[in-house]
């Protein structure tokens, strides 16, 4: 099934959790902040929150800046 992550279409297996999705991307969950359909997802829910068809994810993190 398809979800939208940072405006890009991504193919995932049904039942994929946020934690599994981040792992597939190679992103460390500890330093990434996830908004799903406009709602901030608590970090302790990454393991249990399953992504649904068409979900819109925003992955945000701290980057270098002045």
């Amino acid at each position: 099934m398809i979800i939208i992550c940072n405006d890009e279409k991504k193919e995932i297996r049904p039942g994929t959790t946020i934690a599994a999705f981040l792992k597939d991307l190679g992103v460390t969950p500890d330093t990434v902040f996830v908004e799903c359909n406009g709602v901030i997802i608590r970090r302790d829910a990454y393991e249990t929150h399953e992504l649904s068809e068409g979900a819109r994810l925003e992955l945000i993190r701290f980057v270098g800046g002045g």
């Binding site: 992550c5 940072n6 890009e8 991307l25 190679g26 992103v27 460390t28 500890d30 330093t31 990434v32 902040f33 901030i40 970090r43 925003e58 992955l59 945000i60 993190r61 701290f62 980057v63 270098g64 800046g65 002045g66």
Partner: protein, 256 residues
């Protein structure tokens, strides 16, 4: 005397930025060499083409206080949204508020900055606003409860030094909160100048990050900040128009 902002004591009066470094490792080594205890970070989307690029994995949060910025915000609404996201992302309550609508100059919008500061202070943020060196605005921001003011020496990333010395002197003279000179400090001498003028701290990013050797440049800035502060606390001699001999004027009778 040590610097205190919002009840937190800082031993170093040099604050660092984390942008523009050639690698996370160079950034870490430079920040370690600088001795700084507070560093700015920005909030952005994860780059899906390069998802492992992660500065947070090299920075020790027990060592550095993170000061998330609202860079990229063009008005108060965007700044407030970024601030709240930064807090939700675990960035804490400290915030460098910056609202820069014009990408060419990156000069801060005073009206939107004041508007955002009012909202964010009410929200419980510890707000450090980046401002043009405007003494009236600095007072207005203090009235709404900001924790410090951060007037610019010159525009971000220009390395031009302190082009706003006169206004910064007034801001310092009137300040009820710490004054952190931010932006445009391109050489350690510029940082020393700010500290000699009585600034409480300086924030340096570009000049360290783009140096040929960022680690040594970080050390140079640390020494300059310390020297400038030491000079300020020692009490500088007054500038004079006429010469005033350092050697005794008398005792030359044997010559004449």
């Amino acid at each position: 005397m040590m610097l205190t902002i919002a009840g937190r004591v800082f031993r170093s009066r040099l604050f660092g930025g984390t942008g523009k470094f050639s690698s996370p490792q160079v950034m870490k080594e430079a920040l370690d060499a600088s001795g700084c205890e507070m560093v700015t970070v920005a909030l952005r989307r994860v780059d899906l083409a390069n998802p492992q690029d992660d500065i947070m994995s090299v920075l020790d949060r027990r060592k550095f206080l993170f000061l998330p910025n609202t860079s990229g915000a063009r008005d108060a609404d965007e700044a407030v949204r970024l601030a709240r996201l930064a807090r939700a992302a675990g960035g804490g309550d400290w915030l460098k508020l910056e609202v820069t609508p014009d990408p060419r100059t990156l000069l801060p919008d005073p009206v939107e900055t004041l508007k955002a500061a009012e909202i964010l202070v009410r929200d419980g943020f510890i707000v450090l606003p980046y401002i043009n060196a405007d003494p009236v605005l600095a007072l207005r921001l203090q009235d709404v409860g900001v924790a410090a003011v951060m007037p610019l020496g010159s525009p971000i990333g220009t390395n031009q030094g302190i082009l706003t010395a006169f206004q910064i002197s007034i801001i310092i003279a009137q300040a009820r909160v710490p004054v952190v000179v931010d932006a445009g400090l391109g050489a350690p001498s510029h940082a020393a100048q700010a500290m000699e003028m009585g600034a409480d701290a300086v924030l340096v990013n570009t000049a360290i990050a783009v140096a040929g050797d960022p680690v040594r440049m970080a050390r140079a800035f640390a020494m300059a900040v310390e020297a400038g502060r030491e000079a300020y606390e020692s009490g500088l001699g007054e500038k004079r128009l006429e010469a005033d001999a350092s050697s005794p004027a008398g005792g030359l009778d044997f010559l004449r």
